[in-house]
């Protein structure tokens, strides 16, 4: 049944293995499904088809159709069903094919899942996990190339994590599954194939609400999450090679809760901040970061906080236009140089 060539990593064991981001997500689900009968996966094409992006490949064979449940194309219906099952104490992992399709289920995410805890006075919880990739590229065009991360991160009642590495994909997905609150796990299309070292230990869980210093530096802080972290790390290398600049890259990992402390500590050290995101920056994650940084680091800043995100247009089809619209490395580097007062 599985169309995936690479052997699946063992669900139990110890040590470190190199695996892709999608394999790390799969490992997290396998481990948690073995650990807890209440965990089950549902979504479009998660079973027989092996997952639209092959994240759930092989799970149907291993766990059966009750725990790996194919759904109709019916996001509002099955996402809401996840809310209901979670309210009865299940641990549903609802896969939505991409973040774009969460929009048709927005009512269930924002006005139902997020409200359960507070609106009912803490009488009932909603331990739901929603897994979905954001991201743009491959000429997928306006309706399929978006990142609404900030919309969800701005919603009280939700928790939102967005891993950028295979290790965090495993650790944060496991944390999300074990969490008693609704957690949106924002994955990323371009990163699915990226490889990295992952600790197999099934007890190892990444903490929600803690950012990581992805690269140490002293001249500039680049704050990013998800695929923007990958871009930021490349730009940091370019800045070092071409300009002798030591950029620090903070990978937020968690958007709500947000680890302002780690960001602020970095900016206090570098005195310069650049926020990069895949989404539209107006009213976005980078807008939130800029507000937080100016408050926490008002006396430390040597330059205005800069932002880079998706150009504020519906993403066009033509390759040249698409590339120009994305927060590509050239744009990030130019912004970094402006913050550093090194712009030509």
């Amino acid at each position: 049944m599985s169309g995936v060539a690479a052997p699946a990593p063992a669900a139990a064991g110890t040590g470190v293995e190199t695996m892709t981001y999608r394999e790390a997500l799969r490992l997290a689900m396998r481990q948690e499904m073995e650990r807890d009968e209440r965990v089950f996966v549902m979504g479009e094409e998660v079973g027989v088809f092996d997952g639209s992006y092959k994240v759930t490949a092989g799970l149907l064979d291993e766990f059966g159709p009750d725990r790996v449940r194919d759904t109709p194309i019916s996001e509002e219906g099955f996402l809401g069903a996840g809310v209901g099952a979670a309210m009865l104490g299940e641990r549903p992992i609802v896969e939505v094919m991409t973040l774009n399709f969460v929009l048709v289920a927005m009512d269930q995410v924002v006005n139902h899942a997020a409200k359960v805890g507070a609106m009912f006075g803490g009488e009932v919880r909603c331990p739901l996990v929603i897994r979905t990739p954001n991201g743009a590229g491959n000429q997928l065009t306006a309706q399929h190339s978006q990142s609404f991360d900030g919309w969800f991160a701005g919603t009280p009642g939700l928790k939102v994590v967005a891993p950028a590495t295979p290790a965090d994909a495993k650790g944060l997905l496991k944390a999300a599954i074990r969490d008693d609150d609704p957690v949106l796990v924002i994955e990323n299309l371009p990163i699915y194939k990226e490889k990295g070292e992952v600790e197999i230990d099934p007890d190892l869980v990444a903490p929600i609400g803690r950012a990581a210093i992805a690269r140490e530096g002293s001249d500039l802080t680049i704050v990013s999450h998800s695929f923007a972290t990958v871009r930021a790390l490349h730009v940091a290398e370019r800045l070092a090679a071409d300009h002798g600049v030591a950029a620090e890259v903070i990978d937020l990992r968690s958007l709500r809760p947000l680890d302002v402390e780690t960001v602020a500590a970095s900016v206090a050290k570098t005195n310069r901040a650049l926020c990069v995101e895949e989404g539209w920056p107006s009213y976005g994650v980078s807008a939130e970061l800029a507000a937080r940084i100016q408050h926490a680091c008002f006396d430390d800043l040597d330059a205005p906080v800069e932002r880079v995100g998706m150009a504020e247009v519906p993403l066009p089809y033509a390759k040249e236009l698409e590339l120009a619209a994305m927060p590509n490395e050239d744009r990030i580097e130019r912004a970094a140089l402006r913050v550093l007062d090194l712009a030509a």
Binding site: F40, D66, T71, P72, S74, E76, G77, F78, L79, G80, A81, G82, V83, G84, A85, A86, M87, L88, G89, E90, P92, D107, Q108, N111, H112, G117, A118, M119, F120, G121, G122, E123, V124, R125, P156, G157, K159, D179, D180, D181, P207, I208, G209, R210, S254, P257, L258, D259, V260, E261, T262, A264, R292, H295, A296
Partner: protein, 358 residues
């Protein structure tokens, strides 16, 4: 809650549980009349959707539930909470926004619940509760439990996408859920005829190869019998169903609506002549229950409603320092520690998660 001393009354065996049903119907009627008075006295805020006229379907359908069945409703839910046994004190205190309300003053009129009685809310977005009820039914199947979910909705909800998606999922997965459509002829101010191409709403079940049935929603026994049969099928055979109960709400969509812009006084009066409370009382009298016994029920209920208002008046409002209580699980404070208001890294006036106690 006090019960009726049935030994004092000459009981026709067919009376059975009808006393208790009637008492509950009467409780709902009087409770909502009191709620309206309190709303108009500005002691209850927000929206306040009354169900006067709909007591038979409310009580009949809930009476068909087993103790371990689950109930999910829309926002016109005072009657459902009371019928499921939530104490009037806890419901009235919730309407008053008090600490001992059933949702600790967080939910108000539209978001009543009582998990201990299998009542999972009290939802305010038309149709939004349907996928949730469907997921609860899925959970029951996963546990192999012989239980069912009753999901109440109004006639206005059947034109929502969530209705279609939920019925389809329930049917394609064989889930134990009965969708109770309370057709009171108007979705807010728009009549069913103006809103739905197929006005026989129960027939829509056929699109999902699901059983659909219409009953007189003002006939307590007819409602209870139909709901009982469909719920039993759901429990034992995992067959979902639609039960449409045709009834009428005497009051406006909410207390703020006089309810006369889209219907006539004559129409309302005509319906009042067929009042389900009167019908049920006549049924009891016809079965040999003396009027004095029924009057005694009514006096007892009125005292209970009055007591609930006193309870709500005396109850304290929720503590402001627990503004965010319940939003996140206990222990989440550590996750939020690095953006905590008042810390060096949080803005003082931002509130995102407070103490989870109370």
């Amino acid at each position: 809650m006090a019960t009726i001393d049935s030994t004092a009354l000459p009981v026709d065996p067919s009376v059975g549980d009808l006393y208790e049903r009637y008492r509950t119907m009467f409780l709902i009627r009087r409770f909502e009349e009191a709620a309206e008075r309190q709303y108009k006295a500005a002691r209850i805020g927000g929206y306040c959707h009354l169900s006067s006229g709909q007591e038979a379907v409310t009580v009949g359908a809930v009476a068909a539930l087993e103790a371990d069945d689950l109930l999910v409703t829309g926002y016109r839910c005072h009657g459902f909470a009371l019928a499921r046994g939530v104490p009037a004190d806890a419901v009235m205190a919730e309407l008053f926004g008090r600490a001992h309300g059933c949702a600790h003053g967080r939910g108000g009129s539209m978001h009543l619940l009582d998990v201990s009685r299998g009542y999972y809310g009290g939802w305010g977005i038309v149709g939004g509760q349907l996928p949730i009820a469907t997921g609860m039914a899925l959970s029951l199947v996963r546990r192999g439990a012989e239980q069912a979910v009753l999901c109440e909705l109004g006639d206005g909800a059947v034109n929502m996408g969530a209705w279609h998606e939920s019925l389809n999922l329930a049917a394609v997965w064989g889930l134990p859920v009965v969708f109770l459509v309370i057709n009171n002829l108007y979705g807010m101010g728009t009549s069913v005829a103006r809103a739905s191409a197929e006005t026989d709403l129960f027939k829509r079940a056929g699109s999902y190869r699901m059983e659909g049935e219409r009953v007189d929603g003002d006939d307590l026994e007819e409602v209870e019998a139909a709901a009982g049969r469909l719920l039993a099928q759901a429990r034992k055979e995992r067959r979902p169903a639609v039960l449409e109960a045709v009834t009428y709400r005497y009051r406006g969509h909410s207390v703020a609506d006089a309810g006369l812009a889209y219907r006539t006084k004559e129409e309302i009066e005509e319906r009042r002549r067929k009042d389900p409370l009167v019908r049920t009382r006549e049924l009891l009298e016809a079965r040999g229950v003396p009027a004095e016994g029924l009057d005694a029920i009514e006096a007892e209920v009125e005292a209970e409603v009055e007591a609930s208002v006193s309870f709500a008046e005396r109850d304290a409002p929720p503590a402001v320092e627990h503004l965010a209580a319940g939003m996140y699980m206990p222990g989440s404070e550590e996750q939020f520690e690095r953006m905590r208001p008042g810390s060096p890294f949080g803005e003082a006036e931002l509130v995102f998660a407070g103490g989870l106690g109370e």
